[in-house]
Every structure is written in structure tokens, then in C-alpha cells.
């Protein structure tokens, strides 16, 4: 059958370039590998030239593939499955890139592109290391492109093609018509939960982090392959630093995204997908430190090999965890199962890098030189090594716990996460935090090889004292309040807080006293300073995070004191609070009123205006007020996302989101009528649920609601309602006469579904009060609200750490200082804007 209106050419070109890139990646792998084994220089040169050509072909093809996917998605060619699944006409253009890397195939493509770009730098900058290093990168390209190949070999499909046609993928009656495209009105589009600017920036940065970890791996391989067992560390170290920076920032961008726009109530939840990218980072940090040790002292070379290999191996393992659907029941944001063929290919990818590298390492273990002289316990290298080991062991601990679904699959068991998932990690990681905090504070004061104990004591006495004083001051004036897990854990949290503060102070002091303020050499200390600052922020924000929408903090909901009669448990979080429109509710230090809701620019998006007021305890005067607009986004498929809104102070965030909102669009018509009561001041009237008291009639009122001058002509009825359950409500309907005529301002008591109208004046100082009891639904929302203290320290610490890492990378790579400084300032300002200003 001939189908009408299809654009098949871009797909054919695209698929051609996928095949071309795939073949080119095979050729460049073989050519680079051959080149790396040739000793004859002329022959080597010709192989390298061929390999470069192949890699260039692969790189250009990858760029063309990306351009075609972009073209198909931006033109809404829904005959292509990828466009149908990920693009849609109503999608704002800023999300066009995001919808490309929403899917499996698109994110593999992103990875391919980063490898290609990094490959250019290696080709031009790595000199004699080019062929072995590029062998590894080309080999990885081979596997990534294999996932995108989409070739059928008998019944098995190798990889999923980005350019498959919708009509070949989905069975449906409409595809039996030649003009089926007329019936596909729109694509499915980017998942509404992902419509956020972090979706545009977080995946590319994270994938650059992933992609860059292959370089230390490749250099370690090159070290073994060329038998220059120790030489690879020098060129690999700047890349490791770069990778640590980018991967770290990428992971925390995910945290910031989760915090500010997904309603998880925090930036880190020990979700398997988060863990899967944290683990390689921890190992990378360990490896980066052992590399520094090796360069300074000749120790820890074997550990450097192991960590460099394992970093990338765990990147691949986390790809396996997140993309094969194995985490399905444990994670909120894993990819879904992509089908057996893809799963097997991912497993092959993992195996193809894990087995050879580990086997090579074992075979050559004896040949890797080791220092005969042992590290002294008074040496910097010894404590750095201990720190690296702790990082590595904590990574193993996290991945062991995260891999539980894998054991279940392999051994047929049915283990699940414990009751308190976060605590099961925190109770171990807090010890890690203590050790790392102390080590990063003290270690820099040790010298390599040997240090006189007296020297260290003298140098660290003041920072130690300062940190102790500061922690004590914090404990008194701003105590940690995490009692939930008992005194032992709170104690550990205080020790960790001390360790982190200690590290902040000691590293700050080291820049002055140890380095005499030489900023160029201070990358390490600055990174430690930032890391420790982040730790302080993490400890404070997680310990003192406070739910202010709980039933204990306000009088509205049924209070549960002590044990819950239903569950016989003390700890029963009742964290949701219902706000009836225009009824103020006490919430923590605030009085919160749900004022109104309004539609946003996007269809289906509704914003809710919440007025937060802080009142003076004695005078009841409003001392502070602000408005938050959390929103709910309901898509055409009724998929809902709730986006928080945050009031940011320097020291804390007030954070709120809707946990339940009914759709107020289908309100029934209001058919109730006003009944008129004639009342004098002090009179009482009845309504179905209580009494209405007219306190007095005020001429030209000047109060919190109205502001009239004595020359105006306005009358306001000051009314109190007392409902059967003894609740008091105030109302102030008003009538005003001006040059335009009579103007009535009705008042509403939503809690009682009551509308009040100042309907007029009669004889004998009586007024006509219109009362309407509506059968309309009460308008309400249910929300959660938190106070997050110290959260900005987390972001600030991260940025400082990233800059410190970059400074070290620049220094170790011996780059031009001027351009490096320029790039650093640019990156620093960008990160500062993204993390601290833009929300």
C-alpha cells in the first residue's frame, strides 16, 4: 500500500548514517588497536591516520543523526515512532532537545556525541597515548552505536532504530488506511513530569560526566598495554578531576531538580537511580586521590588502576540497572524494560569492559611497580589512602544495597527495601561523613613521606579549637532536632557536624597558612572546603527539616497524640493539611490562606495562590507576608504533576506543594437564592448551620480590607458567624455609592458555604442583609509544607567544590592560566545562577 503524506527520506538518510557510524567505529577500534601494537613508526603513523579518519567519519555521522532526529521531532513527523512518542505540537520549543533525550535511544545518542567530542581532544592532545586511549573510546562507541543499530537478524533485532516508522511498530486499525497520518493529530510528547528546565540541562551534563569517566579507564588500559605502568597517571589525572567535577555537578543538578520541582520533598532519597550515579563518583574520587598519591610518592599505583577501571565499570553497571527495567519496583524514575535484545546488549557492554580490564589487571599485577618503602602513619599519603579506601568501601556498601533487585532476579529471592530506606543508608553514611570530614580537615597538614607530630599539632590546634567552639555554639543556639532515630544517631549527627565544620575551617586556614594564599595551587583545599560546606548543609537541612503542614502544628485536623489508636504506633506522619478557600490556617510560624487559583499559560496548568503571614504574638500585627504559587499540571491523558513553590531566605527555604487537588472546573451551577434578613445592630439571624450576628454598621471603614476616606459614602456590615461547632468567622459585606452608582461588595465565608450581601438600608437604623447558602462544592486544596534550613549551603558547597576541582584540573593539565581563569569564572557564575538564583 502507498501511504500518503509520509516523509521517508530523512529516516533513510538517518539510518544510513547510523550504519556508517557503526562501521566506522569498528574500523577505528581495529585501526587504533593495531596502531597501538606497532613499533615501526611509519606503519604506526599510517594506522593512526586511518583510525582518525574512521573516527572523524563516526563523529560527523553522529552529528548528522542528531540533526535528523531534531529535524523529525521539531517538524512533528509522527510517521516516525520516536517523534510520535516523544514530541508533540503543544510542546514548547525549549523542550525540543529534552524530548530527544527523554528516550533510551536519544540518551544513548547523547552519550555517543559526548564520547566523540572528548575523542577530538584526545586525538589532538594526548600525543603518544592516542592509539591505546582511542582504542577504548572507539570500542565503547561500537557498543553504544550497536544499541541504535536496529538491524534485523532473523527474528532478533539488534538495537532500536531511532528512525522506525510508527506504522511498523504499533498495530492498529488506522494503519490500514493510506491516509492514516491525518488521524494522528498529535504525538504523545514529553512526559509532563519532565517539563522543567532542568530536563534541558541535567541530562547533557550528567552524560558528559558519564562519558568522561571512560578517559581515566582508557589511560589505565593504555598504561598496561604500553607497559609504561606508571606514566599514564600524569595525563589521566586532569581528566579524572574534570570528570569528578562534571559528574558531581550533574548528580546534584538531579538533586536540585528533584528538590525544586518534583514533589519528593527533598534533594536526595537514596533512590536506586540516584545511587547508581553516585557510586561511580565515589570511586572516581577515591581513584583521583590515589593518583595524586602516586604522583607525589610512588605509592598506591595498583589502587589507582583498580579505581580507574571500576569507575567506568560502575557507570556501565548503573546503565544496566537503570535501563533494563530491573529496578522497576524499587525506583520512581528508572527507565522501563526495553526488551530482551537491548537488555542482553547492555549486559554484553558491561561484560566487554569489565572482564578484559580486570583480567589484564590481574595478569599484570606483579609487573606494576610498588614502592618498597612503606607509608609512615605520619605521612599525608597514608591518610589520603585511608580516605580513598573509605570512599571506595562506602561505594561498595551503597551498590550492594542498591543491587538487591539483581540478587532477587538471579537467586529467585524476594528481598525488598527495609521499612525506613533512608535511615538504612544514613546510619552508615553518617559514619563515612565523620571519617571523611576529619580526614579532609587534617590530612593536608601532613607532609608527604614524613611529618613531625609536633608540627601537625601546632598547625591544627587553632582550627580544631575554632571548630569545637563553633559546633558548641551551634548546638546551643541552633541545635539539631533530629530525635526520631534516637539519641545515638543524633550524637553521630553532631560528631559529623563537628567533622564537617572542622574541615571547612581547616581547609580555609590551610589556604592561608599552608599555601600562603597561593590561590593557583589551592584547588584541592578549595574543593575540600566546598565538599565540607556541602556536608554541613546536608546535615543541617536533613536534621532540621520541619514539616509545618502536620496536624500537630495546627488545630484543624484531628490531633493524634501519643500512639495512633489504629496502628498502635507513635510515628505516624500526618503531613497533609487541607485548606478551605479563604480560611486562614496556622502552619508552623505562619498563618496560611488559600486565596484563589488561576490558570497558567500552558493548558491544564493551574496555580494556587497561598498567602503566608507571620504575625506578632502580642500585637497580632502582620510582621511579614509573602505569596507562594504552587501549581498542578493536568495533562490531556490526566497525568498529573504537582510543582512546588519555594520562598527562599538566605538561611532556609519554605517549601510547599499540593498533594491533592480536585478539579474545580466542573462545578455545578449555583442555584441557591439570597434570603433577606432585616437586622439592627446587635440582632441575630439563623442559617442552617448556626447564627449570624450583626455587630455594628460602620461608615467609611478603614481596616485591613477596605480603605475609605471620610468623604466617601460607604457602609459596611461587621458580622460574626457562630457555627454549631462553636467556630467563629468574620465577614464584612459592604455597599458603596459613588458617581458610577451603587456598588455592592459581597463577602463569602467558604468554610460555611455562605455568601453575604449588603442589600440595602431600611427604616429604624436597620439594614437588609442578603444571605445565600450555596450548594456549591467547597473549594479547598490539600498541601504539604516544609521548612528546609541550610539548603543554600548544599548548593554553595557544591559550586565551590566544582570550582576547586576545575582549578586542580587546570593546574595539572598545565593549561593557559588566562583562558582557564576566564572559563572558571564563566562556569562559576553560570552554576551560581542556576543553583542559587534561578528559581
Amino acid at each position: 500500500m502507498e501511504f500518503e503524506g509520509e516523509h521517508l527520506l530523512p529516516g533513510q538518510i538517518g539510518h544510513f548514517f547510523v550504519l556508517l557510524a557503526f562501521v566506522a567505529s569498528i574500523l577505528s577500534t581495529i585501526a587504533y588497536f593495531t596502531a597501538s601494537r606497532k613499533t615501526d613508526l611509519a606503519e604506526k603513523k599510517s594506522w593512526i591516520n586511518f583510525a582518525r579518519l574512521s573516527f572523524a567519519v563516526q563523529l560527523i555521522s553522529a552529528a548528522i543523526i542528531f540533526a535528523i532526529v531534531f529535524f523529525i521531532c521539531s517538524n512533528h513527523y509522527f510517521e516516525y515512532m520516536y517523534a510520535y512518542k516523544h514530541a508533540s505540537k503543544e510542546l514548547e520549543s525549549k523542550y525540543l532537545l529534552a524530548c530527544i533525550w527523554e528516550g533510551q535511544e536519544g540518551s544513548f545518542l547523547l552519550w555517543v556525541i559526548w564520547h566523540s567530542i572528548l575523542g577530538i581532544f584526545i586525538m589532538f592532545k594526548s600525543k603518544e597515548w592516542e592509539s591505546p586511549v582511542m582504542t577504548v573510546i572507539s570500542f565503547a562507541q561500537f557498543f553504544l552505536l550497536l544499541m541504535l543499530l536496529g538491524l534485523h537478524i532473523s527474528d532478533v533485532r539488534l538495537g532500536s532504530n531511532l528512525f522506525t516508522l510508527t506504522r511498523n511498530e504499533i498495530a492498529g486499525p488506522i494503519f490500514s488506511q493510506p491516509d492514516y497520518l491525518n488521524y494522528i493529530k498529535d504525538g504523545i510528547g514529553l512526559n509532563v513530569l519532565l517539563r522543567n528546565y532542568w530536563m534541558v540541562i541535567h541530562p547533557p551534563i550528567l552524560f558528559l560526566g558519564f562519558a568522561s569517566t571512560i578517559i581515566p579507564f582508557a589511560y589505565a588500559y593504555a598504561g598496561i598495554q604500553t607497559k609504561r605502568f606508571g606514566d599514564w597517571v600524569t595525563p589521566a589525572l586532569p581528566w579524572a578531576l574534570f570528570s569528578a567535577c562534571v559528574l558531581g555537578v550533574g548528580i546534584m543538578m538531579g538533586g536540585k531538580w528533584a528538590y525544586e520541582s518534583l514533589s519528593f520533598g527533598g534533594y536526595w532519597a537514596w533512590d536506586p537511580v540516584e545511587n547508581a550515579s553516585l557510586v561511580p563518583w565515589l570511586i572516581l574520587i577515591a581513584g583521583m586521590h590515589t593518583m595524586v598519591i602516586y604522583k607525589a610518592t610512588g605509592h598506591s599505583l595498583k589502587a589507582s588502576y583498580l579505581f580507574a577501571f571500576l569507575t567506568f565499570i560502575f557507570i556501565l553497571y548503573s546503565t544496566f540497572l537503570t535501563r533494563t527495567g530491573i529496578l522497576g519496583d524499587t525506583s520512581v524514575h528508572a527507565f522501563t524494560d526495553a526488551g530482551k535484545a537491548v537488555n542482553i546488549m547492555i549486559l554484553l557492554f558491561v561484560a566487554a569492559f569489565t572482564l578484559p580490564s580486570i583480567i589484564l589487571l590481574i595478569i599484570n599485577l606483579k609487573k606494576i611497580p610498588t614502592e618498597k618503602q612503606e607509608e609512615s602513619t605520619n605521612s599525608r599519603e597514608f591518610w589520603m589512602f585511608i580516605g580513598s579506601l573509605v570512599f571506595f568501601l562506602s561505594a561498595l556498601f551503597i551498590i550492594a544495597k542498591t543491587s538487591v533487585p539483581v540478587y532477587n532476579k538471579v537467586f529467585g529471592t524476594s528481598f525488598a527495601q527495609p521499612e525506613n530506606v533512608e535511615f538504612s543508608y544514613n546510619k552508615v553514611i553518617i559514619l563515612v561523613a565523620i571519617i571523611i570530614g576529619l580526614l579532609s580537615a587534617v590530612t593536608q597538614y601532613f607532609k608527604y613521606k614524613k611529618t613531625a607530630p609536633a608540627y601537625i599539632l601546632k598547625k591544627i590546634a587553632i582550627p580544631t579549637l575554632l571548630a569545637a567552639v563553633m559546633t558548641a555554639a551551634l548546638a546551643i543556639f541552633y541545635p539539631l532536632t533530629y530525635y526520631k532515630m534516637g539519641a545515638g544517631f543524633l550524637g553521630a549527627a553532631y560528631i559529623a557536624l563537628f567533622a564537617a565544620i572542622y574541615s571547612v575551617i581547616a581547609n580555609g586556614a590551610y589556604i592561608w597558612s599552608g599555601l600562603n594564599g597561593k590561590l593557583k595551587a589551592a584547588g584541592g583545599s578549595i574543593a575540600h572546603f566546598g565538599f565540607a560546606l556541602m556536608l554541613v548543609g546536608i546535615l543541617i537541612s536533613s536534621s532540621n527539616k520541619e514539616v509545618i503542614s502536620n496536624s500537630g502544628a495546627n488545630g484543624i485536623n484531628i490531633q493524634i497524640k501519643g500512639k495512633d489508636p489504629m496502628t498502635k504506633e507513635v510515628d505516624n506522619p500526618q503531613e497533609n493539611l487541607t485548606l478551605i478557600r479563604q480560611v486562614p490556617v496556622a502552619m508552623g510560624p505562619y498563618e496560611v490562606t488559600y486565596l484563589k487559583d488561576s490558570l497558567g499559560h500552558e493548558k491544564g496548568r493551574r496555580f494556587y495562590e497561598l498567602l503566608f503571614q507571620r504575625k506578632d504574638a502580642v500585637t497580632k500585627k502582620v510582621t511579614e507576608q509573602f505569596t507562594l504559587w504552587p501549581d498542578v499540571y493536568i495533562m490531556k491523558d490526566n497525568n498529573m504533576s504537582s510543582n512546588p513553590d519555594t520562598k527562599t531566605y538566605l538561611g532556609k527555604d519554605v517549601f510547599t506543594y499540593l498533594s491533592y487537588a480536585i478539579n474545580n472546573d466542573n462545578k455545578p451551577e449555583d442555584t441557591a437564592q439570597f434570603t433577606i434578613h432585616e437586622m439592627a445592630e446587635g440582632d441575630t439571624a439563623f442559617y442552617s448551620n448556626g447564627i449570624i450576628i450583626l455587630n455594628r454598621v460602620v461608615k467609611n471603614p478603614d481596616n485591613e480590607k477596605y480603605h475609605f476616606k471620610s468623604t466617601d459614602a460607604a457602609l459596611m456590615a461587621d458580622i460574626t458567624l457562630i457555627s454549631k461547632d462553636s467556630m467563629h468567622f468574620g465577614a464584612m459585606p459592604l455597599v458603596q455609592v459613588d458617581e458610577f452608582g451603587v456598588n455592592q461588595v459581597d463577602d463569602t465565608v467558604y468554610a460555611q458555604n455562605l455568601y453575604l450581601k449588603f442589600a440595602g438600608v431600611t427604616e429604624g437604623r436597620k439594614i437588609k442583609l442578603g444571605v445565600k447558602e450555596s450548594d456549591k462544592l467547597i473549594e479547598y486544596i490539600t498541601l504539604k509544607a516544609y521548612i528546609f534550613p541550610g539548603i543554600n549551603l548544599v548548593w554553595l558547597g557544591l559550586i565551590i567544590m566544582a570550582l576547586g576541582l576545575m582549578m586542580s584540573a587546570v593546574k595539572r593539565a598545565k593549561l593557559s592560566t588566562f583562558y582557564a581563569a576566564l572559563a572558571l569564572i564563566f562556569a562559576g557564575v553560570g552554576l551560581f545562577y542556576m543553583f542559587l538564583l534561578a528559581n
Binding site: 512518542k85 516523544h86 533510551q104 510508527t166 511498530e169 504499533i170 498495530a171 492498529g172 486499525p173 488506522i174 491525518n182 488521524y183 494522528i184 493529530k185 504523545i188 512526559n191 522497576g328 519496583d329 524494560d337 526495553a338 612503606e374 607509608e375 602513619t377 585511608i386 579506601l389 573509605v390 568501601l393 561498595l396 556498601f397 538487591v404 524476594s414 528481598f415 525488598a416 527495601q417 527495609p418 521499612e419 538504612s424 546510619k427 559514619l431 485536623n557 484531628i558 495512633d564 489504629m566 496502628t567 506522619p573 503531613e575 497533609n576 487541607t578 478551605i580 491523558d637 490526566n638 497525568n639 498529573m640 498533594s659 491533592y660 480536585i662 467547597i778 479547598y780 490539600t782 504539604k784
Partner: protein
């Protein structure tokens, strides 16, 4: 290696082993509704789905922290579920519910709910077929 090294390394290793042993008892298990009923008060994971023949009880005005519904699993087990939190929006549309909590006498006291909703799963071919067919139907109407 020096003795001090060995001592320090062994103590770290011991610490880690201790921690792993310490947290080994920390695991819960996946259960069916009937096997969970035999383990009253034990924290378990249930994989079930919503029983659409029974009412869902949630009144946010009255108490936003009380949701109850009935769940059934593939083995025919059925239980009332109480969740002291707000109602997840897509509960009615969910195809599968992973619930964490404890069986208490007459009901399952749920601490956490993870929903598997069809709309979130673009890679599900059956769902895509449904979507694309519905799209055609709506254009005909």
C-alpha cells in the same frame, strides 16, 4: 606492611563487615496478600492492584491524611488498605500498586505507595495501540 597499617586496615574492614551484618537484618520481603496476613505486624511489600468493585474512601476536607481502598492480588487475596497520607492522583487508573507497610488485623496499614500507571509507560506497546486507536475514534466522532 607495618603493623599499624594492618591494624588500621583490619579495623576498617571489621567495621564494614559489622555494618553489613548490622544492616542485613534490615531487609523486608515481597509478599502476597495471603502470606502477609500470616505475618501480622511485619513490614512487607505487597504487589497488588486496586479492587475497582469496592469504594475508595477519601475526604480531604474531613481528613486529608486518611485514604482507604481495597486491593486484590493475582492469587485472589483481598485486603482493605489504609494509607495515612493524601490520595495519589492516579490511583484509579493504576494497573499495579506496590505498597509498603504492615498487615494489622483487618487491614493493611500502608506507609508508602508506588503506582504503576499506564500513561507513564510509553514503551508499552499495548498502551500505544490503545492511544492511537482512541485518537482515531475521537476524530471520527
Amino acid at each position: 606492611m607495618k603493623k599499624t597499617h594492618i591494624v588500621i586496615l583490619v579495623s576498617i574492614a571489621a567495621l564494614i563487615v559489622a555494618l553489613i551484618v548490622f544492616s542485613a537484618g534490615d531487609f523486608s520481603t515481597y509478599e502476597t496478600i495471603s502470606s502477609a496476613k500470616n505475618k501480622q505486624g511485619k513490614f512487607v511489600h505487597l504487589i497488588a492492584k486496586l479492587d475497582k468493585s469496592e469504594p475508595i474512601e477519601y475526604d480531604a476536607v474531613n481528613n486529608p491524611n486518611y485514604l482507604s481502598f481495597y486491593a486484590i492480588d493475582s492469587l485472589g487475596g483481598k485486603t482493605k488498605v489504609v494509607f495515612h497520607n493524601s490520595k495519589p492522583t492516579d490511583l484509579e487508573k493504576s494497573e499495579r500498586i506496590v505498597m509498603k507497610g504492615k498487615m494489622q488485623a483487618d487491614h493493611f496499614e500502608c506507609k508508602d505507595i508506588l503506582l504503576k500507571c499506564p500513561s507513564k509507560y510509553k514503551d508499552d506497546k499495548k498502551q500505544l495501540e490503545k492511544t492511537i486507536t482512541n485518537q482515531q475514534d475521537s476524530t471520527y466522532k
